[in-house]
Symmetry: C2
Subunit: 98 residues, 2 copies
DNA sequence: ATACTACTTGCGCGATTGCGCAACTACTGA
DNA sequence: TCAGTAGTTGCGCAATCGCGCAAGTAGTAT
């Protein structure tokens, strides 16, 4: 079995994930990544409509929460959804928000 | 069919729901409501460990996001999870945060 | 009406957040 | 090495958030 974490620590982690999703631009990023597979920072920044440094910060928030992952390809950095469970989460979110 | 909302408005609603979930105490409230059915403000405030006015504010946030609903029973106000889809959302959140 | 319990609302404060801007690092190609 | 392109990081500011506290509303009971 996995180590039984105190319920409070688990809630803190859940809250951190929710906080990372609590921004329209970051949700927009996840929509692009959901059907685009991998995208560069510049690509995302153009499509979402914000400056590159701002997008980089948003992506850092998503990555810190374990929602996206990144890899470098030459001079560009490609971001992707970290896990399929993230798609379920975004779907559930949209259903409640619907 | 339902009116096709602009994607941006849908994202704003999703972000609002996520923001409402982005607090450990509010997640704790949802856990209590998930297996307790209906709970009063005082009850929740005792179990979560915060003052009554603070709990009332947290519940107002959750209600504004459509996550919980309330009804009055005499002098007490009982809160409950608004919809089953909220349970799916919290579950998906915990799975990603796991 | 009075007193009491249950809850909500307004206010102010410290902490966090999102953003633009500038500066910095990382990689490519000549 | 010297540009040039792609991202990241640091800083400051306005806006928002969570909280405690005080005051107000709603319902019960005497």
């Amino acid at each position: 079995m996995t180590t039984a974490l105190p319920a409070e620590a688990q809630r803190d982690r859940s809250a951190a994930v929710a906080r990372a999703l609590a921004d329209p631009k970051r949700l927009c990023v996840l929509e692009f990544l959901a059907d685009g597979g991998e995208r560069s920072v510049g690509d995302l920044s153009r499509n979402v409509g914000c400056q590159v440094p701002n997008m980089s910060q948003h992506l850092a928030v998503l990555r810190a929460a374990g929602i996206v992952a990144s890899r470098r390809d030459g001079s560009t950095v490609l971001y992707r959804i970290a896990d399929r469970s993230v798609l379920d989460l975004v779907g559930a979110l949209q259903r409640v928000a619907g």
